[in-house]
Amino acid sequence: TQLLEQSPQFLSIQEGENLTVYCNSSSVFSSLQWYRQEPGEGPVLLVTVVTGGEVKKLKRLTFQFGDARKDSSLHITAAQPGDTGLYLCAVFMNTGFQKLVFGTGTRLLVSP
């Protein structure tokens, strides 16, 4: 069983469309991170959300942490081909060490 389930698994849209991807869990977290990974490269941190209900904006990307801190969403407005990539949510789990655990990922393809 995955700690973090992301949906949808794959999303193919046209340039200019809006989209939302989700990261869900039954566990409560103190914070949650979103990464974007382009093909053949390592993930790059986009944002960390900490407070329940928090909303953070990064240009056309809007991140929200659920009120109960169990889930998060990423909304992209007017998607561009440069947004193409794998979007991963991640949380730190204390297993005697602060281990970074990643979600299952959403692969986004934005076509011109």
């Binding site: 490269e41 730190f92 602060q98 692969r107």
Partner: protein
Amino acid sequence: SQTIHQWPATLVQPVGSPLSLECTVEGTSNPNLYWYRQAAGRGLQLLFYSVGIGQISSEVPQNLSASRPQDRQFILSSKKLLLSDSGFYLCAWSVAEGYEQYFGPGTRLTVT
């Protein structure tokens, strides 16, 4: 500024052959170092982490081992590769546990 290097970028190895992947970090001292494996288009799985020279912790028992011979050098090895070892291997560093992790460009390993 800090940079992280991985090599080789791509590797094709036969089953039963040895493996050595190298990761080096520049511009920081005594970083935490991590090895992850990523299945095709999916989330990352932590394999090993190190908080200092010669200190290695294994997260997943398997056919691989890790070593940290120098402060900013992290090596992933295997004596005999299995088909199931194929994947995208990522190295990462952080200033301490629970802090943002910075990923290298990855090594694509194909075991044939």
